[in-house]
């Protein structure tokens, strides 16, 4: 069966510091991968998605970036965090079916 991992689970970072969130998927090959952000009490906003290694599509222009160095690894980064980057970050994958399956998420607080 397929599983998706995210780490860290929680993160507190000062403004201006760098960020690296990691997502890995097991049990499937060539998945489509997604990064979402959820602000407190709100819906999900798609940030990036990837259909293959090195292929990244950005949905929202901002100071975040994503990379996919391996088939089942998706990384969300920032060089300098802003207060507005605080939120809950969810990684998801989809395969041949049309639904997306989500990881446990990372709660990021920028202080």
């Amino acid at each position: 069966s397929q599983t998706i991992h995210q780490w860290p689970a929680t993160l507190v970072q000062p403004v201006g510091s760098p960020l690296s969130l990691e997502c890995t998927v097991e049990g499937t090959s060539n998945p489509n991968l997604y990064w979402y952000r959820q602000a407190a009490g709100r819906g999900l906003q798609l940030l990036f998605y990837s259909v293959g290694i090195g292929q990244i599509s950005s949905e929202v222009p901002q100071n975040l970036s994503a990379s996919r160095p391996q088939d089942r690894q998706f990384i969300l980064s920032s060089k300098k965090l802003l207060l507005s980057d605080s939120g809950f970050y969810l990684c998801a994958w989809s395969g041949l079916a049309y639904e997306q399956y989500f990881g446990p998420g990372t709660r990021l607080t920028v202080t």
Partner: protein, 115 residues
């Protein structure tokens, strides 16, 4: 572009009773999928049920079923025999079958189960 609207920010239901959560959507696509996701306090998004737009039969998963009205662009979720573990945020979502794989989410409905 697709839009998804959930007009009920909060709902509550007595344990063991039935509750219906509303969702309407708008799309120019002829083929698309609709989903309901549950987000419990742990905040992990869990797929509850999905519906293919080309299918007239409403999807069912145990105590969860949908009422899909394609002409009205309505996709409600019915939870029967509500249990305490059903307490969560519920999000309606849609995506085209082809092309852009982006899931468009509604703003969610917070469901409270009253013991």
């Amino acid at each position: 572009a697709q839009t998804v609207t959930q007009s009920q920010p909060e709902m509550s239901v007595q344990e063991a009773e039935t509750v219906t959560l509303s969702c309407t959507y708008d799309t120019s696509e002829s083929d698309y999928y609709l989903f309901w996701y549950k987000q419990p306090p742990s905040r992990q998004m869990i797929l509850v049920i999905r519906q293919e737009a080309y299918k007239q039969q409403n999807a069912t998963e145990n105590r969860f079923s949908v009422n899909f009205q394609k002409a009205a662009k309505s996709f409600s979720l019915k939870i029967s025999d509500s249990q305490l573990g059903d307490a969560a945020m519920y999000f309606c979502a849609s995506r085209p079958t082809f092309g852009n794989e982006k899931l468009t989410f509604g703003t969610g409905t917070r469901l409270t189960i009253i013991p």
